[in-house]
């Protein structure tokens, strides 16, 4: 009797974990997609007065800021696109295989962890380069650019935040998998 009851409880808890995990996976898919698109369409053109000769008035010159110009932003977009595609593929894999085998769930766990590492490193790179753009670095004479390109910088910040939320979601997926393993053992 006792063991039967326990089994039922374990199954119930497992299914509730499964529902939560599916929602989290869908959330991760959405957030990384938003992050990749927001930074991927980021482009701003501004006209800046450039003083060539001090006696003459400044010459208006159009300058453009694009996400492709900084390698950290390219890395960010690629990493978010990869984790978005992976989230979609794993969602399809989980939904199609009803009683998932051990190998499938183990592979998904391993790849989830790889996505956590990938997304966190992309956020770190974008955040640090964005910080230089926002504040500049006086020691090496790297001037800030966010006083000119304000909309561009806001979009980068939004994308970084979305991607951070997405990576926290992947981290929660890891924690839930570890919890369900712990409950079973």
């Amino acid at each position: 009797m006792e063991t039967e009851y326990k089994d039922v409880e374990v199954v119930n808890r497992k299914s509730s974990f499964k529902g939560k995990k599916l929602i989290l996976r869908f959330l991760a898919l959405t957030l990384t997609l938003i992050a990749a698109v927001v930074l991927g369409v980021d482009k701003e053109t501004k006209t800046v007065g450039l003083t060539l000769v001090t006696t003459l008035p400044p010459v208006p010159v159009p300058v453009t800021a694009k996400w492709k110009y900084l390698s950290a932003f390219v890395y960010f977009v690629v990493a978010n696109a990869i984790s978005c595609v992976y989230a979609a593929m794993s969602l399809i894999l989980i939904l199609t295989s009803r009683n998932a085998s051990k190998l499938v769930s183990m592979t998904i766990f391993i790849l989830d962890l790889a996505m956590v590492a990938l997304l966190f490193s992309a956020i770190g790179a974008t955040g640090s380069v964005g910080l230089i753009g926002y504040q500049g670095n006086s020691h090496v004479q790297w001037d800030k650019v966010c006083n000119v390109f304000d909309k561009f910088c806001h979009q980068v910040a939004i994308a970084a935040f979305m991607s951070f939320a997405g990576s926290i979601t992947f981290l929660l997926l890891i924690v839930f998998t570890a919890l369900s393993l712990h409950k079973k053992s």
């Binding site: 800021a65 694009k66 110009y69 900084l70 390698s71 950290a72 890395y75 051990k102 183990m106 766990f109 391993i110 962890l113 790889a114 956590v116 590492a117 990938l118 966190f120 490193s121 992309a122 956020i123 770190g124 790179a125 974008t126 955040g127 640090s128 380069v129 910080l131 230089i132 753009g133 670095n137 020691h139 090496v140 004479q141 790297w142 001037d143 650019v145 990576s167 981290l171 890891i174 924690v175 998998t177 570890a178 919890l179 393993l181 712990h182 079973k184 053992s185």
Partner: protein, 206 residues
Amino acid sequence: MASNVDSAIPPHTHAAASMEVPLKTSAPPPEYATRGAGGSKKHAVVDVFFRVVLFATSVAGIILLVTSKQTKLIPVAPGIAVSRAAKFNNSPAHIYLLAALCTAALYGIITGLISVFASSKLKFHFVILDSLLLGIMASATGAAGGVSYIGLKGNSHSRWNKICNLYDSYCLHVGASVLLSLIAATTLLLLVWINVHALSKKIARR
């Protein structure tokens, strides 16, 4: 468990040898013997080895990063040169890298000692803490790597000039430190994988 090993040794061998054997086997925690599987012991050894690697790489990274200061004479005008130093704490990303490496070194030594001396019931907590530290290490590596890449190549669009042609040994130190933190992050990834593998194997055995 010590009596188990003792009984394996014939009673009439040298007394000194039979005295030494229990001493050696009393060092590892008793869980290995009670579980009775060779795979679990092997896993514990690999776990401790990876934690030692994590500690070693992060300590080496800290040393390389802290000793990266380089002073050079920069010509500002014909005949005038100013001595300017490049230090790691000029950039917030590298301060973050140092903090993350210190955390990883401390974490590596503490959890290494725990997994040698304490019970392996903490394995589940290690999985979560390991993946959290993996996130921190990956973001620190990404941050320092992104800034160092601009320092190496420069960026013509925002007129950020490269500095590694001037400060060569500084860049070498920082680059090696970033590489070591990448190795530390990979070690953490492997640690989580083997711990979860061991957990799921333990379930399958039941």
